[in-house]
């Protein structure tokens, strides 16, 4: 699971409606896979990400140095865009869990695929 995906997910257990985003990452296996750097795409994502959630998720995977506020989409800072690229599209949770801060619901990540299903008695 890449952080671009993590940034879209929230807990959807029944009656869990506040503080259900972002899900806390507890990774037991993390990998970094090189992907093609596309500054235009990264710029486009700047306004679309929940920035604070992205920064804290990146930090939980050991990527430090992201600014506290999202840079402007016009930014020319190639080095910063490269860092965001690495955090957003290269770092991956292979095995681990996503936990809801509010209700404590645990979603497992297996072979880099998060299992976002609820249990049959929760729907």
């Amino acid at each position: 699971m890449k952080l671009i995906t993590h940034n879209m997910l929230q807990c959807h257990a029944k009656n869990c409606t506040k503080d259900n985003f972002p899900l806390k990452i507890e990774a037991s296996e993390v990998a970094e896979q090189e992907t093609e750097f596309n500054p235009e795409f990264i710029r486009r994502m700047l306004g679309r990400l929940e920035w604070k959630a992205f920064v804290s998720a990146a930090e939980s995977l050991g990527i430090m140095g992201l600014p506290t506020e999202a840079p402007a989409e016009s930014t020319e800072d190639e080095e910063l865009l490269q860092l965001i690229h690495t955090a957003l599209l290269e770092k991956q949770v292979i095995e681990g869990a996503l936990t809801c801060n509010n209700c404590g619901h645990v979603y497992r990540v297996k072979k880099s695929i998060p299992d976002m299903r609820l249990q049959e008695d929760e729907v």
Partner: protein, 445 residues
Amino acid sequence: MRFLCYFVQAQPEFRLPELDAIASMFDIPLTYDKSEYRLENPFLYIDVPSEECAKKILSRAILIKEIVEVWADAPTHEETLEILRRYTERYKSFSSPEISFKIIVDFFGRKCAVPRQLEFINQLGFLNLEGPVSLKTPKLIVTVVHDYGGDPRYVPELPYRCYVGRVVGTGQRNLIDRYTLKRRNYIGTTSMSAELAFLMANCARVRANDIVHDPFAGTGSMLVAAAHFGAYVSGGDIDPRALRGKVAGKSIASTFQQYKLSSHLNGLLTIDMSQPPFRPTTLFDALLSDPPYGVREGARKVGIREGKALPGPEYPKPENHIPMTMPYDLPEIMSDLLDFAAQHLHLHGRLAYWLPTFRPEYRDSDVPTHPSLTLVSNSEQALTRRWARRLIVMEKTAPYQPRTERTCHNVSHALLRTKLWFDTHGREDPDEPTQAPRADEVETR
């Protein structure tokens, strides 16, 4: 500028929706006379501002064979030659020692033997093209097109229409071979053909750097097409085995590796579409989907099946517990899909999906609606005399408002699984105890 759009004679219902979608994707003002267009005939004059616009359309079109700048158009070949003799200014500028060329003869609806082709080519000597002949990399391709109509049962002695002109460019038919399922690393029983997957990506106006999602990804066919056009894609499925692949080295990820598109695969998720786990905001530029419906791949959602006991009260469940699933009724799937699109698409983002239909009962009013979505196109692909699927394209035209009614069951695709089973087996499905009426008893409104 006026051009002749020469479509392929395949998927005719989808040709105009694709053309319109591509033009609107590039903001190209496009006009044509729809009354001139016939499904059995692949020729249509289109007006676009420039040749560059025609080339942009060609850069995406999967159902256009080529676009031609017509120099002569007449009911007979002799008349086209006469027109060419009279209006030399139409092609004079292409007569230069620097412009290599070739002439091709292209009969639609009939074969043309090689000696006769040569005869036609030699007849055009009076064009006085000065450049060298190049069969492999010509700068100019002159085409002689004769239209014998698309009816194989009746091929007329003489063509209906003859055209001579310059080929502006060809469409993207080569992608069909490049991405063919025959050589794809990972496919399943319901994998979408490359042709239709690219068609869907075009109809949904998938562009480079878009975020595209398929909530019923299966083996990921539509995601491959979207990624080829430069989008970043993700896919969900309720069955993690489909996403991961059951055999080592055969998975959606391996397919993306095969086509060198791995950088564009954002991720895969095990998702129950009746309970989507996305934060409630706009996230996607386009959604492509072929929701499951068949006898073989019946849809499931998490839930407790009728007649089954509730699982034990212990919570949390053991880590490896797989939730029980129950049938996921088609009208409900469609309703969930539309609401998902209405909520998570960016404004003017598009949803393209297949709606299976029972042809004897289908009405246009069966197509599900949503207050935030506007229908763009609805084209049928017949599967059998009784069964079809329709490619439904919708655009988000208003901010999200939750759906007013949950599902509508009074439609021909309701109880589709039961009807399909009845069609193939001549009796009701013994494993699926249901109150469903038989196909011929289903209420036709």
